[in-house]
């Protein structure tokens, strides 16, 4: 007598194992990235509005809540960046004849590009 026990579906699968928890945090990073970009656009608005508007917004940016948010957002976007670059060879494998370019080389090139962009952006603001 066949009476299969139906497949079980959990709504909390993402709590069960570390790979799933990290996946969930990775997906959640997008919320923090978008929220940060909203703050960035607010900052740009204030700067466009003039020095006094910017000075007023500085007080907000200096509050512990905003500093705290930026710390958390930085952690999340780092998780995003690292998982993103580590996954580069999955989506864009490069072949030379029979050989695959080692995934580590593609990942390394991604990190190098990240470093260059970061230095250029920092230089624009600071130098």
């Amino acid at each position: 007598m066949a009476r299969p026990y139906p497949r079980t579906v959990s709504k909390t699968w993402w709590l069960k194992r570390w790979p799933y928890r990290i996946f969930m945090l990775r997906e959640l990073s997008a919320v923090f990235v978008a929220a940060y970009v909203v703050l960035l656009l607010v900052l740009v608005t204030k700067v466009h509005d003039g020095a006094s508007a910017f000075e007023g917004y500085l007080d907000t940016l200096q509050s512990p809540v905003f500093i705290g948010f930026h710390v958390v957002a930085l952690l999340f976007v780092m998780l995003h960046a690292v998982t993103w670059f580590q996954a580069m060879p999955k989506g864009l494998p490069i072949r030379r004849g029979e050989e695959r370019v080692p995934p580590a080389a593609i990942i390394g090139a991604s990190y190098a590009g990240w470093l260059v962009v970061s230095v250029v952006v920092a230089a624009i603001f600071l130098l």
Partner: protein, 257 residues
């Protein structure tokens, strides 16, 4: 070998049992089995069936990681039980369950009809527009052309990737990792001309586009097939195809054709 005077080390197995004629739902059976560092979980199950309880049902065949039939959940992670050593779980207890995300036929045996259907859906064979007559010889291939798909031909249909995939768990319509990797194996084969047919399934919403790249399919794969990579590459290819068809709505063949 074993010294009878030495107290024998044991390890506790918690084996999922489901006997449809008597059980409403799966339960766990706790059993002590001898601990041998060179034993795998499958050896412990065989000991259990031979020496303790002959009613236990489970699938296995080659016990050398190529038949793909002894996949089970070991402490919540999909494993080939012929490759999961007791020593990596000692002192236990070791919980052995049927592969997740499938209905349970009995004990550790799952119903794999859904998987079989999905394998067929991607037409995993070489498709030609017109078969070449036999006297014209075989379809030849360079080593580089072969290397292009070889990794995806290593799949042993063990279904560990389906058990590891939360997208398949929450959405049974998803065609799933192994079937999509198998589709890549034929789509990337220089002798094949079936991309267009295959991609009706592969490029659909319940094909590659359900995948959110959790990536565990590739982590648990005992043959390093990397279904997650196959799916990501198919997303790139499908996206290129989508934009091409915007530019050239009345034609535009895939790159291989």
């Amino acid at each position: 070998m074993t010294d009878a005077t030495v107290t024998e080390q044991t390890v506790t197995l918690e084996v999922a049992r489901y006997r449809p004629e008597q059980d409403e739902r799966p339960t766990f059976q706790r059993v002590e089995v001898p601990y041998r560092p060179e034993w795998v979980v499958l050896d412990a199950l065989n000991y259990l069936k031979d020496e303790v309880d002959g009613t236990l049902s489970y699938r296995w065949s080659c016990r050398m990681g190529i038949c793909g039939s002894c996949g089970m959940m070991v402490n919540g992670v999909p494993k080939l039980t012929c490759a999961a050593f007791l020593r990596d779980y000692y002192p236990g207890p070791i919980r052995v369950e049927p592969l997740a995300n499938f209905p349970v036929e009995r004990d550790l045996v799952i119903v794999l009809d859904d998987f079989m259907g999905k394998l067929q859906a991607v037409k995993p064979w070489i498709i030609r527009d017109v078969e070449r007559p036999l006297e014209e010889g075989e379809y030849r291939q360079t080593p580089a052309q072969r290397a292009n798909f070889e990794q995806y031909s290593m799949c042993i249909n063990c279904m560990l990737c389906y058990a590891a995939c939360p997208v398949y768990e929450t959405n049974e319509e998803f065609i799933g990792p192994a079937a999509l990797a198998l589709a890549a194996r034929y789509n990337l084969d220089s002798r094949d001309q079936g991309n267009r047919l295959r991609n009706e399934v592969v490029w659909a919403d319940d094909g590659i586009w359900d995948c959110t790249f959790v990536g565990e399919c590739s982590t648990v794969c005992p043959k390093h097939v990397d279904p997650a990579g196959a799916i990501q590459q198919a997303k790139v290819e499908s996206t290129i195809g989508w934009f091409q068809s915007l530019v050239m709505p009345f034609g535009g063949k895939s790159a291989k054709e």
